[in-house]
Amino acid sequence: MKLEIGRIKIKDIQFGDRTFVQDGFLTVDKEALAAFLKEDERIKDVSIDIARPGEKVRIIPVKDVIEPRVKVEGTGAGFPGVTTKPSQCGQGRTHVLYGAAVVTVGDIVGFQEGVIDMWGEGARWTPFSKTYNLTVDIQVVEGLDTHTHEETVRLAGLRAAEFIGQAGKDVEPDELLTYEMGGIFEETAKYPNLPKVLYAEMMITQGLLHDTYIYGVNAQHILPTLMHPNEELDGAVISGNCVAACDKITTYQHQNNSVILDLYEKHGKEINFLGVIMVPEHTTLTGKLRASDYTVKLAKMLGADGVIVSEEGYGNPDSDLLMICKKCEKAGIKTVLITDECAGRDGMSQGLADTVPEAVAVVSCGNVSHVVTLPPADKVIGNAESISVLAGGWKGALLEDGTLQCELNAVIGSTSEIGYHYVTCREY
């Protein structure tokens, strides 16, 4: 499977009377985009804005971040099975408006959205302070239940990203990246002496606001499944997830999954990267036992020597993570786990909800309860007050002068458990 990603580097976003890219400047026709999104009759109103790196702008409450893209060659246009008809992702050529992002904003049930600060202290903590963000604030019609509300906002974000992405269709990319990997037997014949590595990507699949979709299939209902890494890099996986902002995998992070990219980097040189196992996280013990058994079985069938396991969320999924670890290690498969910690605001608490002695190689992406103080913004996109109910916020977290105090919990992507960001914990 061969996928070419053509990066069109975006230097700024502005509004205009049509949507196009020229010389790295993305112009968006706001009215046309709003009209396009309002084709969904569940949407009452849309407000669209721009937040640029360095601007004293706070975006809150953020639901998802999506990279605008367009398919220029091959199958897999849009988000197959979700916004477009099912077709194969991971091959052909995709143009990316690199450096731009669509950010969906708006209260759903209020707890599970997050914050993006575009400047200063807050900008350090989120990877999405570095992107030119087109914010799409969705108000839905009255009387929608929360499940439908979530779906409406989810689809609006994806459709907005597609709409904007079209602007890159006929633009010559600044950079062309190629991701190519043949069948597992083929690659193993090519690199017989390299250790075989799998990536097991755990996904929150636990109901409303806690779902991940693969080709439109709610992963709540799947057994762990094998994917070619290119598929995820090409829009096969999307987030329906509004769990704590710090470590949920946004759609953008699926499209640019850092574990996949870093394993690809070593493929054919130091490792033989076999593929990605998508692992659902269930709420029941039965589900956890089944999913962990099945994951390890796939790893054994494929003859993996090592597996990197990334978690999504914390608390009960810690058990899934450690079950997979224990069973892999027992099968002689070396594991490295990526997680974050709930070590309390003072950092003095043990950080995981479960423990196994086999977990000897763990990457920590930070303490979700680390408290940060974010100075007042000149402009707030969304609703600054919502911090009082967000996971990671509290009543009184928004001070009178607009300063925000919150745990990293509330900051989008801050403790990303796919290791997308640069935060860790050390023992002091």
Binding site: F111, H147, Q206, L208, L209, V243, A244, S258, D262, K266, I271, D305, G306, I308, S310, G313, Y314, G315, K334, V336, I338, T339, E341, C342, A343, G344, R345, D346, G347, M348, S349, Q350, L352, T355, P357, A359, A361, V362, V363, C365, N367, V368, S369, V389, L390, A391, G392, G393, W394, E407, L408, N409, S416, G419, Y420, Y422, V423, C425, R426, Y428
Partner: protein, 350 residues
């Protein structure tokens, strides 16, 4: 040059040059001068700080009259107003270590002043104070004095000036067990790939998160006669009265709440709802009894299956809540239930 910071020093009878085991019973005394290791310590401060005085106390006295010894120390601190208190180093001397540990814990807790001490890792005093004070890792005997004092002095200097300490291994102190969140040059995924490669090659690697050790809780014996038992309801599912009057957090709870249900036969929407930020609350909000099953329990009460439903239910949010907070909540709620003579508790999680 700015004014020198002030250090109050603590030593036992031996390092205070009063005497050996025969003097271990001496009560504490204060001398407005440098005694024993305080001399070398002040030298290592390189003129930036001074030792204003030394407390000398017998090891046996401290351990047998802890309250009195600590009172004396507290009084001396009030009188001398030091910026930092330094004790030891105690190396592997158990009683001396216990004294340094208790002193350190008390001073940090009651005065919020930094304390620096030094001990061998196996000294029982380490566990008493390492999470509060800075305990420099020393050799097991006084032969390590020359190495310990400059480390203790360097740390004291930083603490006095409000400079953040570097990593324990770099500064030479025993880790406090605090998980500090910081930035590094390589993103997490890259660190994971490198760690896996190191494992393949048999090279050394260091986990970023050593596995936690859990307490084991013995289950209580079964209730013999349920029909006479008082049963309480307690949840980590975030069910709160409308308006969340106590402001229980939607994640990473810092508190719990207790609400009277003596007049209620069930928890009805919208009077109750879930403030929990970590699960699908749509169904809990539709019928809060799904998380706190008061309705069924009342039926059991009427049928005589159970004796009584306790008048209050207890609630907090379980998502992202630190184990140490959870432990504290458990102890506080448990004490109330025990006091009230509750026989059993139904704990619901989500």
């Amino acid at each position: 040059m700015s004014e020198k910071f002030k250090v109050l020093y603590y030593v036992n009878q031996f390092f205070g040059q009063v005497g050996g085991e025969d003097k271990a019973g001496m009560p504490p005394e204060y001398r407005p001068e440098k005694v024993g290791p305080a001399v070398g310590f002040e030298g290592a401060l390189q003129g930036e700080g001074e030792v204003v005085g030394t407390i000398i106390c017998g090891d046996n006295y401290f351990n047998e009259h802890k309250e009195e010894a600590l009172e004396f120390i507290k009084k001396t601190i009030k009188e001398t107003a030091p910026d930092v208190v330094v004790a030891g180093p105690a190396f592997n001397a158990g009683r001396y270590g216990m004294a340094c540990g208790e002193l350190a814990k008390t001073v940090v807790e009651e005065f919020n002043k930094p304390v620096v001490t030094g001990m061998y890792i196996e000294n029982p005093g380490v566990e008493i104070c390492k999470d509060k004070a800075i305990v420099v890792s020393t050799a097991d005997s006084a032969a390590g004095m020359r190495k310990a004092l400059p480390l203790m002095a360097a740390i004291t200097r930083k603490l006095a000036k409000g400079i953040e300490l570097d990593a324990p291994a770099k500064e030479g102190y025993i880790p406090q067990g605090r998980r500090k969140t910081l930035f590094v040059d390589k993103r997490g995924s890259q660190r994971a790939v490198e760690m896996l490669l190191a494992r393949f090659k048999g090279e050394e690697f260091e986990t970023e998160l050593p596995m936690p050790v859990f307490d084991q809780v013995e289950p209580a014996p079964a209730i013999k006669d349920l029909s006479k038992a008082t049963i309480a309801l307690c949840t980590s599912g975030g069910i709160v009265p409308q308006g969340n009057p106590d402001g229980i957090q939607s994640a990473s709870a810092q508190k719990w709440g207790k609400y009277n249900i003596s007049e209620l036969d069930s928890l009805n929407a919208p009077d109750f709802y879930s403030t929990h930020g970590g699960y699908d609350t749509a169904f809990a909000n539709d019928n809060p009894n799904r998380v706190v099953p008061l309705d069924i329990l009342r039926e059991y009460e009427k049928e005589g299956v159970i004796g009584k439903v306790y008048d209050w239910f207890f609630t907090t949010t379980g998502t992202g809540t630190s184990v140490s907070n959870a432990k504290k909540f458990g102890q506080e709620i448990g004490a109330i239930l025990k006091e009230a003579g509750v026989d059993g508790v139904i704990l619901t999680s989500t």
